[in-house]
Amino acid sequence: MSKVKTDGKMLNATNKLKNEMGRHYLAIEQAYREGKPTAWATAGTPVELLYAMDVQPMLPENSATVSAALSKSQNFIELAEDEGFSYDLCSYFKTNVGAVLSNAEMNVGGTRKPTFMLSSDVICDTHVNWFQVQAERLNVPHFTIDVPHVVSNTTNRQRDYFKKYIAEQLWELLDFITELTGTEYNPEKGYKIALNSYELGKIWQDIYELRKNIPCPVSTRDTFGGLFPLFTMPGLKSPIRLYKKMYEEAKERVDNGIGALKQEDFRLAFMGIPFWYNLRFFSNLEKWNAIIVFETYVYAFSKFANPNITKEIVINYPIETMAELALSFWYIYDLKTRFEKLKETVKDWKIDGIIMHDNLSCRPNACGMYDLKRKLMEESDIPSLVITSDMNDPRKMNETQVLNQIESFMEILRKRKKR
């Protein structure tokens, strides 16, 4: 008997995600019990190198989303604001500050004092500032990786020395960890971890490939949650097994012509970070028989989207691979590349329209969004809707207003379908 669900909801395999995250938190607890080194890391840093150096990573952004999902983030954010941090600063950052101040448990988004912190400006300055603030408050060492800013007219010649600079810092990072923990980099282990990370990213991309099918077999119910192992466990074996199960189940749906929605009238892309405190918001789209089939933010963390990075390169040059990937990360693409990639994505995933989240906490992502929207419409006849809200601060979401905007947008899409 087929295991495929027919009610158009979550994949069964996604339910196992809780076990995977449980395994991650258990590993953190175990590291503390056994006195092993631990590190906070920001999204976009090469977490694989931490695993390769026997350091247990913790990602405060991931923890912040847990707080939001449990309706705890606002309280933590307000605690941080009481400390003098502005209303306008990143809500992940403030959630983390508040959670640490309250000694929150890990199951509500708390985290533990690490051996050291690892940040990078690959996504935003906030990551570097955030860990600078917390490293000072918790009195722990902090290493940051400076990733040069790629713009629309950056040349290949420039990319070469950008890459060299990043790679040099990654080697310095390994020395920094050795100095702190005594662990030397083991190339054999580094290679295995890089390979696992590659496999994890590639299966995730395979799942996205399946989403090109009509009807789409996988919805945001699976992807927004399913992305966490990409953040926290790249390089480990166990999330690969989970993703393989997700893939198999999605494939079975495709083979049987079953979609995540019973009736799929509109296919959408979502750009930006979701509102973690209100994920049910995305279920509203089902009212219009609309499904999100591509999320740029979630896809970005599959990392290995650069066609120049082959499995052979990953195996033979794991450090250089990390350097190259830092320069070609979906979430931070320059405006020209963002436009080109979105255009391709719309075509390949047969997307009717794009919802762009002008996230009050994520200025690097929001900057250029208006131009992108205009250019997509003018040059490629692709409609987009910009909605303004925040990823972790529920005070900054006006749900009724956003729903009204979406209703109007869906009406536009409906009319376009009739053309």
Partner: protein, 345 residues
């Protein structure tokens, strides 16, 4: 003479390279008197007001003799804005200079590579030859300008020169042909040598820090409230002439080192090091207090404020933090806060 503008949230653009190419560097400043409706069509309203203001001017059209722009790595907002310039602003030359976040040897090498790339692109575009000799000459010229500014700054310290006139001078130097800037500074210095102080000695001696503060009217506003900016760590201020470029080293290396060795900006890492500079300056100049200004939505300054507040409280140095809109109306609205601080110190 060809002019190239630079958009810099700090002051890490090596003007010497442009001078060596016979190009006049023109630093872009905001204009708090204009509306920014066109810029708001490109950038959401919760992004840095100053950066949006400069985009507005560019969209409206910069001076006709400005042929290009160098945007120098600053914060998320200024960095991301560059691609919008590329899309929407009509200029012949665009270069994003990746002034590094860090201050170590790897960063130095990287910065040198990026300055060399700037030279290559300028030579290609403007058919010029930027030789080592020409850069060395430009370094000497700029060092002389820095020497003059340091000399003139001493008159501000002795309360002979008002902080607003000084601010205006530094701004002008960043927008003039350097020959003319030299003449202007030499003349000012000569004038100051025979000037007697007319400033009220009871004015509060302040160390001013924070975001880019480019509106001289704001400095005048503070003066009217009886503050004298005896010292600052601003890029339109002391950071522009903090020290000199080494004239004995390889010029590209010397330029990169010069910019990385200055006191750190709030946009660079570790920005908390700024505290040490501020503490040293506060003690050296025996200031009555420190004023830290954040332009609205200036994230780098917003992140460091609670730390500074704690550290200055521990030291017993009066510290005022003000978040400010980029328009003159907002100055008046802040009068009470500044008056209260003056009372307190």
């Amino acid at each position: 003479m060809v002019k190239i503008a630079y958009f810099d949230a700090c002051i890490e653009t090596p003007e010497e390279i442009l001078v060596a190419a016979d190009i006049t560097p023109i630093r872009l400043f905001g204009n708090p008197m204009i509306g920014i409706d066109e810029a708001n069509e490109h950038i959401p309203p919760n992004h840095c007001v100053w950066a949006r203001n400069i985009l507005q001017q560019a969209l409206k059209g910069l001076s006709q003799d400005i042929k290009g722009i160098i945007a120098t790595h600053g914060c998320d907002c200024t960095n991301r804005e560059f691609d919008i310039w590329l899309e929407s602003v009509n200029l012949e030359f665009f270069y994003f200079l990746n002034a590094p976040l860090k201050r170590d040897n790897a960063a130095l090498k990287f910065f040198m590579d990026d300055i060399k790339e700037l030279i290559i692109q300028l030579e290609d575009k403007f058919n010029v030859n930027i030789t080592t000799e020409k850069i060395n000459r430009a370094i000497k010229e700029m060092n002389y300008i820095r020497d003059l500014l340091r000399e003139i700054s001493k008159y501000r310290e002795r309360m002979i020169l008002s902080s607003s006139i000084f601010h205006d001078l530094v701004k002008n130097v960043q927008q003039m042909e350097k020959d003319k800037a030299k003449e202007m500074l030499e003349s000012k210095l000569n004038e100051l040598k025979t000037t007697k102080s007319s400033l009220d000695k009871k004015m509060k001696k302040i160390l001013l820090t924070g975001s880019v503060i480019d509106d001289t009217e704001f400095i005048k506003f503070l003066e009217n409230l009886k503050y004298h900016i005896i010292i600052d760590d601003l890029c339109i201020g002391t950071k522009y002439f903090w020290n000199n470029v080494d004239e004995t080293d390889d010029p590209i290396r010397a330029l990169a080192k010069y910019h990385l060795n200055k006191p750190i900006y709030s946009t660079k890492f570790p920005s908390y090091e700024r505290f040490k500079t501020l503490k040293t300056l506060a003690e050296q100049y025996n200031v009555d207090g420190i004023i830290n200004i954040a332009q609205k939505f200036c994230e780098p300054v917003l992140y460091s404020h609670p730390y500074f507040s704690k550290k200055f409280r521990e030291l017993g140095i009066p510290y005022l933090f003000v978040e400010m809109e980029y328009n003159r109306e907002s100055y008046r609205q802040l009068t009470t806060r500044f008056e209260a601080f003056a009372e307190m110190i």
